[in-house]
């Protein structure tokens, strides 16, 4: 597998070269190697404990890599006090604030640390963006969603060149999630975004590039189109009148790798669509089964993810 195919000529804002990290005897990251072009949106996916948060903390200098080099904006990242943080913004999965402060006071503290000019104007812009009021309410009374929105405001406050978000939509309601994704998408071209999530449809919706981390290794890293081409097997989706018929359909389609779910049967294929479709239809006519609908589909990111991490076959078999 070749990583990093489809790279554009645009300079890379972030580069990880042969990064390794272990906690005791557990190897969390092994030879992780990827780069993100400036202005792109990079979706970082992986199972729980795959090492996504550790990778982000290494980029931010919050953890020390055992081996390898990380550069942000061409400058190497150092553990503890890294100058590269001046051009990054970070939204942790559970952002922690000083509960005794108001949002304005907190953003003012962040603005003074980053040394941005026209603080009050920028703070007002950010509060407006995340729809929080500039009133006297202290942060300790905020809901988790409100804290997440304040986290977004502080992450974007210094107009970062690289924005790192760790599962940013996990605490948001559907409307908030939609708004946040639109906000991230609107940053395309100006700010490079690296975000991790379990919600693969979010990645599919806004990402230019996707990295799939599994067992501490980056198993795939490319544009969505290239991942589809490389790992995504197209499929034929049949809708049957009921679940019982769908089960019978799954049996008559053998040896094709049909997957039965409720009243639907999915048949992935590698040959030409016509060849497989004719094979399916012939089997159905012989068995006297009439489907309600037949569709040709491309693989979802979830299927690509499962394929990449090696679960593809076990899931696709009926």
């Amino acid at each position: 597998m070749s990583l990093g195919e489809g790279m554009s000529a645009v300079a890379d804002i972030l580069t990880l070269s042969h990064v390794q990290k272990a906690f005791g005897s557990k190897h969390v990251l092994q030879d992780v190697d990827f780069s993100i072009p400036q202005g792109s949106i990079f979706g970082f996916v992986g199972e729980n404990g795959a090492g996504k948060t550790t990778t982000m903390k290494l980029i931010l200098g919050l953890e020390k890599a055992d081996a390898g080099v990380i550069t942000v904006g061409g400058q190497p990242v150092h553990f503890g006090a890294t100058k590269t943080n001046r051009i990054t913004g970070y939204l942790p999965d559970v952002p922690a604030f000083y509960g005794y402060m108001t949002p304005v006071e907190y953003l003012d503290l962040c603005a003074r640390i980053t040394g941005i000019s026209q603080r009050q104007r920028r703070i007002a812009e950010m509060l407006d963006l995340v729809q929080l009021k500039a009133d006297k309410h202290r942060i300790r009374g905020f809901s988790r969603g409100m804290k997440q929105r304040l986290g977004i405001a502080q992450a974007l406050l210094n107009r970062p060149q690289l924005l790192i978000c760790d599962e940013p939509t996990s605490a948001l309601d559907p409307a908030g999630r939609n708004e946040f994704l639109e906000l991230l998408a609107s940053l395309r071209g100006q700010t490079t975004v690296l975000f991790s999530t379990h919600i693969l449809s979010d990645v599919e919706r806004i990402s230019d590039r996707v990295g799939i981390l599994h067992d501490g290794r980056l198993q795939a890293c490319d544009t969505l189109a290239n991942l589809h081409q490389q790992f995504g097997r197209p499929q034929i989706k049949l809708t049957l009148p009921d679940a019982q018929t769908a089960q019978r359909c799954g049996q008559v389609l053998r040896p094709l790798p049909a997957q039965v779910q409720a009243n639907q049967v999915t048949v992935p294929y590698q040959e030409a669509y016509e060849t497989t479709a004719q094979q399916v239809l012939r089997a159905l006519v012989t068995a006297g089964i009439t489907p309600i609908a037949l569709q040709q589909q491309s693989a979802t990111l979830e299927q690509i993810f499962l394929e990449v991490i090696g679960n593809g076959h076990t899931t696709n078999h009926a």
């Binding site: 919050l62 970070y90 942790p92 604030f97 640390i113």
Partner: protein
């Protein structure tokens, strides 16, 4: 360096809004009001308690009794309250993850440690000075004698011991993962210093000497110069502990 005043302002706002300074001020002002009053009322209390069964003549209280009461309260209960109030000053930030947003914005970690230490020193200095002045006023009112002529000489070593003690608290709070761990470290250090004090040769160099000779200084039986080695060790150890706090914090995972 430019972020130091910003973080100091944040620390002072925190101690004000979380009522830590208020609690400290109230406690030490209670000591300040109680010390002369207890000295004044002790003979009456004893008379009321024992009546005519007490054959001993109770001496008339003086300013010495008032200041003795003050230094006893401050060096025992006072520093204990300080340790409890400020034991979580760094460990709470580390366990809650509140420094993550600030450090990832480029805030140098040494600024966090130094601003916290300055904030603690300011609070201790203000609270102790206020308490001292109130005690002075009440003592002068109740006991207008000349038996305690060097009151500032007693005050200065206690103030300096506080600076050393706060450095111990901050280091312990950075070393430990919770407030109790920091408190335990502080108790162990102070306990160790009291053990060292058992050796007569070490007494003059022990920072503990700064809180053991206050009355001798106030009455003029000793001079500040005689406590010089202890003062130098306390200041030196305080600076080493502050540097140690910065080194520890630089190595901490946030």
């Amino acid at each position: 360096m430019a972020t130091l005043p910003t973080m100091l302002k944040k620390e002072l706002l925190e101690t004000w809004r979380t009522y830590r300074f208020l609690i400290l001020a109230v406690v030490v002002l209670i000591f300040a009001l109680m010390s002369p009053l207890i000295a004044k009322l002790t003979p009456d209390i004893m008379k009321m308690s024992f009546g005519k069964t007490l054959q001993l003549a109770i001496p008339k209280p003086t300013s010495i009794d008032s200041w003795t009461q003050f230094y006893k309260n401050m060096t025992q209960m006072g520093i204990f309250v300080v340790a409890i109030l400020f034991g979580g000053t760094m460990s709470q930030e580390l366990s809650r993850g509140t420094l993550v947003n600030l450090v990832t914005k480029g805030l140098p970690r040494w600024v966090v440690a130094v601003s916290k230490y300055i904030s603690l020193v300011v609070q201790w200095s203000v609270a102790l000075t206020a308490s001292f002045l109130v005690t002075w006023g009440y003592t002068a009112y109740y006991f207008p004698d000349a038996k305690t002529p060097y009151i500032w000489q007693g005050f200065v070593p206690l103030l300096l011991f506080g600076f050393f003690f706060l450095a111990v608290i901050l280091f312990g709070s950075t070393l430990a993962n919770n407030s109790y761990g920091g408190l335990l470290f502080t108790i162990l250090v102070v306990g160790g210093l009291y053990l060292v004090n058992l050796f007569k040769a070490a007494q003059n160099y022990n920072p503990i000497s700064l809180i053991g000779n206050n009355m001798a200084l106030v009455q003029g039986h000793k001079t500040l110069g005689e406590l010089g080695p202890g003062i130098a060790i306390a200041i030196g150890a305080g600076l080493v502990l502050l540097a140690g706090t910065v080194i520890l914090l630089n190595r901490k995972k946030l």
